[in-house]
């Protein structure tokens, strides 16, 4: 309300205290017009495939083949090809699952929570972040499905009548997780798709005009005959708001239920009530790390500096800083509670994490997750895009190690010293995991090649051109 003084019922106090006008950050720089936005975003899809895209796509496809190969080998041989053995029967599979599902959470935070909070800076990054969510859920889903061993029985996870006449144990958080993750994946796809409908309609008409009937048909098929009618916009915006409203509790519940996989067990180091908020904060932290990792190269490759401004980067860095600090607080609080509870097993579990056989992993986690984000306090660092990108990689690494530390240290050193062990991944596991980065990149590269990477309609709506009361604020 920067121009509140122009309205009739200005409180008298305002003229006395003369408040400073706080200018709103410009979300689209250089006063770009509607048609500039359309040309810019559609131009990416309509233009010739850049050389770097083919290089990245080939590389990503090669890396993705590791996962495919690892999975085929696992299915053909048995789940013993992974390094799991008593007592660590969960290890990289669940680490990777939690890591990827956590990355997805920033996409939903940006698209849903920031939408409800009316954070308009979300508009230029939300489409790509939602795409990241979906592809991250795809990568996450691979691990729990294949860690069951006989994957052709994976449908036993769902309550489908079967020849054993027995049903799932709905008391188990693992069963809750099946519903949480599949709901999350489905709703994320729906949300992403609904957001894309108006943009697909633009592409439909542009390809039609350019004479490319096949692509016009394909975009048109999914555009559902969108024609920008305001009576449609009215329902559309309401549906979008409702989806944002239900995705917000969804995203919080998904990582809460993921944390229940651990917190509901009795294992020292897992059995803590702090897990749900701690996991959700960690998920958003890692997700923003990944958003920065993806968006900064995209911004410079496609010259999107007018749409992803320094203000956007600042906002993302600050959220990373805030959630990273929450995670750091949770690490400290876990230690405090372990001591305060006077439970010797709990106390041992945490001392062992920091100084035991896996101390190297613990200190990687601490340096990446607690120390790295603190650099974002400084404006100079936030303005150095290359440095922000490097720090975002550290965040990704740190959050993978967080899950490794939580899962593996607790399992490898449980109640009975006679059953202690040391877990190391097998080569199959290593390749399967690193291959998922290829799977993710293949999907993401296809997305930036064939779909609008930014919501054009939403970007237009935050420019001054879309304001029917240009110059004087009625609201």
């Amino acid at each position: 309300m920067s121009q509140a003084e122009s309205t009739a019922e200005t409180p008298a106090i305002l003229s006395e205290v003369n408040p400073a006008v706080l200018p709103r950050a410009t979300l689209v720089k250089n006063n770009r017009s509607f048609s500039w936005i359309t040309e810019k975003i559609c131009g990416i899809i309509e233009g010739k495939t850049p050389g770097w895209w083919w290089v990245c796509f080939g590389l990503a496809g090669f890396v993705a083949s590791w996962t495919v190969g690892g999975i085929i080998y696992l299915v053909a041989t048995g789940v013993g090809v992974w390094g799991h053995a008593n007592p660590a029967n969960w290890a990289w599979d669940i680490v990777n699952f939690v890591f990827w599902i956590g990355i997805g959470h920033a996409g939903t935070l940006i698209s849903a929570i920031l939408c409800l909070l009316r954070q308009k800076w979300r508009t230029s990054i939300n489409r790509a972040a939602e795409a990241m969510t979906i592809f991250a859920v795809v990568c996450a889903g691979i691990f729990p499905v294949f860690h069951v061993g006989r994957v052709w029985f994976a449908w036993y996870l769902f309550p489908i009548p079967n020849s054993n006449y027995i049903w799932q144990n709905f008391r188990s958080p693992l069963e809750w997780d099946v519903f949480a993750v599949s709901t999350y994946g489905t709703v994320s796809v729906l949300f992403w798709y609904v957001g894309m409908i108006p943009d697909l309609a633009i592409l439909r008409d542009r390809f039609y005009k350019a004479g490319n009937k096949t692509r016009s048909f394909l975009y048109g098929l999914f555009a559902m005959g969108w024609r920008g009618a305001n009576r449609h916009w009215s329902n559309y915006e309401m549906a979008y708001l409702v989806l944002a409203g239900i995705s917000t509790p969804l995203v919080l519940s998904v990582h809460t239920i993921v944390s229940f996989d651990f917190a509901v067990s009795l294992l020292p180091g897992w059995h803590t009530t702090i897990f749900p908020p701690y996991f959700v904060a960690g998920a958003i932290f890692s997700g923003f790390g990944m958003v920065l990792t993806l968006m900064l190269p995209l911004r410079s490759l496609y010259k999107l500096e007018d749409l992803i401004t320094q203000y956007h980067i600042d906002c993302m860095c600050k959220i990373t800083l805030a959630t990273g600090t929450i995670v750091g607080y949770a690490y400290g609080m876990e230690f405090f509670i372990a001591w305060y509870s006077t439970n010797p097993y709990e106390g041992f579990a945490f001392i062992n994490r920091a100084f035991g056989h896996y101390a190297w992993a613990y200190w990687i986690m601490i340096s990446c997750n607690v120390i790295t984000p603190q650099f974002f306090w400084f404006k100079k660092i936030r303005e150095n895009t290359a440095l922000v990108w490097i720090l975002s990689i550290f965040v990704n690494v740190g959050m993978w190690f967080e899950r490794f530390v939580i899962i593996v240290t607790s399992l490898a050193r449980d109640f009975l010293p006679s059953s202690w062990g040391y877990y190391s991944p097998s080569i199959v596991e290593i390749f399967t995991f690193f291959g998922t980065f290829g799977v993710f990149s293949v999907l993401f590269l296809l997305f930036i090649r064939f779909l609008p990477i930014m919501p054009m309609a939403e970007l237009k709506a935050v420019t001054p051109e879309a304001d029917p009361h240009a110059g004087h604020d009625h609201h």
């Binding site: 559902m224 009576r231 409702v242 239900i246």
Partner: protein
């Protein structure tokens, strides 16, 4: 045979222009008309006299259906069809059934919300007279359009055109049906 007339279409350059033009069309008493905009324009619903969207009613029904499915599925499987003692816990309790019922609430609600939006919008509708006009390209890009349909009782091919012109519309043409 000449195609039947769908209505007339007019172009406006700015959001402010269409906002004020929409108020005039609304006040003139037209019923079957619409604005076509590249992005949602703040306050245009009010200027057009469009009432609050009914999508949330679908969402509510969807949410209730999802919650009921979740709770009754877990009750049926655990307490009726195959009661099995697990860890000495009850066959059914809304407590342990809650997380799944909660997820299904959201899942079914999402489908109903989107389905409701399509039903209310009459979509998918891949063929529409407006989509055949030249105007639509700019209407989805950077211009603002008003379409008044011929089936409106107040519609009159010539009078409506001059009315739109007086409201500030440009490039006013017929839309073939």
């Amino acid at each position: 045979m000449a195609a039947p007339l769908h209505g007339v279409i007019a172009t406006f350059d700015t959001a402010a222009e269409i906002y004020h033009a929409a108020q005039k069309v609304r006040d003139a008493g037209f019923k079957f008309w619409d604005c076509i905009t590249p992005c949602p324009v703040h306050g245009l619903d009010g200027a057009m006299g469009v009432t609050r969207s009914k999508v949330p009613r679908f969402s509510l029904v969807g949410g209730l259906v999802g919650f009921t499915i979740g709770m009754s599925m877990i009750y049926f499987t655990g307490a009726v069809d195959y009661p099995l003692i697990v860890g000495g816990k009850p066959f059914f309790s809304p407590m342990f059934a809650f997380p799944i019922a909660y997820e299904l609430t959201i899942l079914v609600c999402a489908f109903f919300t989107i389905g409701g939006m399509f039903v209310l919008n009459g979509q998918p509708m891949h063929y529409h007279p407006v989509l055949k006009t030249e105007h639509i390209h700019r209407g989805l890009d950077d211009k603002f359009l008003i379409v008044i349909e011929a089936r409106d009782p107040k519609f009159d091919a010539e009078a409506t055109k001059s009315f739109l012109e007086s409201a500030g519309g440009k490039d006013i043409t017929d839309v073939e049906g």
